[in-house]
């Protein structure tokens, strides 16, 4: 089954590659991303209100640990076979350890279209996974003693748009609950798929503009951008299973692990690790991994999770 939102993404990529005049106004893109972030946050918050919070603490700690560990798995590969300078290796490691909210929105839409249940509080995990990898990346580039940039960068990340809106949405959803949020549904929840389709159209155009720089960096980056998400997704499925998540929940966690940041981390790296080349990390995360996840990755992680859960006898 082809998802319409994926087709919108492909339309954007095609239009971009063909150098079409098509462009979403900046303010429209801003509004779309604000609506999506708030909608995702509030959805998670509503579900959090139903959960005894303390029961989630072990899962939360495990997800934070995942965020710290993932960058270490790719850093040696980028330094060794990738022959990258330390700053670039650290920056790319941070991109891949962190998450992309856009990819999260796509997996949520994917599961909803197939009536597959997942733990609806998982937007919380998006927040938890966003930050640790950035700290690891800065430490990799600068060493632990180099304190310059820590403060600015922590501020940049914690008060960046995505964290503020996701956490804000989570809190609002958590405080007012499902009944209270009802009046907002026509703006935030009913048009979610349509907003996502437009957002992905624009992301397709942006992706197309990064395909050019990919040609310059060659095969290693292409292979890295495809293999890394598959390996990370496998870790995500196993971790999801260990944490007792549902099969759908494991697909979401796998997708989160597989996704690479293209907004929060690049901004933080520009400030804290300026010697890293932003074109390189964006070519990988936006030019390869994002389209891979959206088009092929998510169905693959779904199949992976299904097989694994069947094999282990979990539901």
């Amino acid at each position: 089954m082809l998802d319409p939102v994926v087709l919108f993404f492909l339309l954007g990529v095609t239009a971009g590659v063909l150098k079409s005049e098509l462009r979403l106004p900046v303010q429209v893109y801003e509004l779309l991303s604000i609506l999506l972030l708030l909608a995702i946050g509030m959805k998670g918050g509503i579900e959090l209100a139903r959960q005894p919070f303390f029961e989630l603490v072990p899962q939360m700690l495990a997800v934070i640990a995942l965020g710290f560990v993932l960058p270490f798995l790719v850093y040696p590969i980028l330094m060794g076979p990738g022959r990258m300078p330390r700053a670039d290796a650290a920056s790319i490691a941070a991109h891949y350890g962190s998450v992309s909210v856009g990819t999260f929105a796509v997996v949520v839409a994917y599961l909803a279209a197939r009536d597959i249940a997942y733990e609806a509080y998982m937007p919380l995990f998006v927040v938890l996974l966003e930050v640790p990898a950035i700290l690891v990346g800065i430490a990799m580039a600068k060493g632990l003693r180099g304190t310059t940039g820590w403060k600015a960068s922590t501020h940049e990340v914690l008060l960046g748009k995505s964290i503020v809106l996701l956490v804000g949405g989570l809190l609002i959803g958590w405080l007012v609950g499902e009944e209270g949020i009802k009046p907002l549904e026509p703006l935030f929840f009913h048009p979610f798929q349509g907003l996502l389709a437009l957002f992905l159209l624009e992301m397709g155009l942006v992706t197309a503009s990064h395909l050019g720089s990919l040609r310059r960096y060659g095969l290693f980056l292409l292979a890295f951008g495809v293999v890394t998400p598959i390996v990370f997704a496998t870790i995500g499925v196993v971790l999801g299973w260990l944490l007792g998540l549902s099969m759908g929940g494991a697909v979401v966690l796998a997708t989160l692990a597989a996704s690479a940041s293209y907004i929060a981390v690049p901004a933080a790296m520009r400030i804290s690790v300026p010697e890293a080349n932003p074109a390189l990390s964006l070519a990988a995360s936006l030019g390869v991994t994002f389209p891979f996840n959206v088009i092929l990755g998510i169905p693959l992680y779904h199949a992976l999770s299904e097989q694994f859960y069947r094999y282990t006898g979990a539901s």
């Binding site: 462009r23 979403l24 893109y29 801003e30 600015a152 901004a267 400030i271 932003p278």
Partner: protein
């Protein structure tokens, strides 16, 4: 009306460093600045400004000769190596010297 000569510094750079740069400008003695969004092409490729990752800004500072030189020296030292940035100066005339 009497006119006074000042320097106009124009900086075109990445929006990612806006808050850090404006803090530095304050520290280096600028009394104020004007920021606008910018698009264009340079040594680091086309920056279309179509999404948050590749936006550019143009910062204009009007100040006296010494401050202008001070700012330019610092920018060269702290920013030129790693950021997409250009800087140019020009002479301008202003009417209220106490503001600049």
């Amino acid at each position: 009306m009497h006119r006074h000569r000042r320097r106009l510094l124009t900086i075109v750079t990445e929006s990612a460093i806006e808050s850090r740069l404006t803090k530095d400008l304050d520290r280096w003695g600028a009394h104020g600045y004007t920021i606008t969004d910018a698009r264009g092409k340079g040594a680091r490729g086309i920056r279309e400004g179509n999404w948050e990752g590749n936006r550019n800004i143009r910062i204009e500072v009007v100040c006296d000769e010494d401050t202008a030189r001070h700012i330019a020296d610092h920018l060269r030292e702290d920013y030129y190596d790693h950021y997409a940035m250009i800087l140019y100066h020009s002479d301008v005339e202003i009417m209220r010297p106490e503001k600049f």
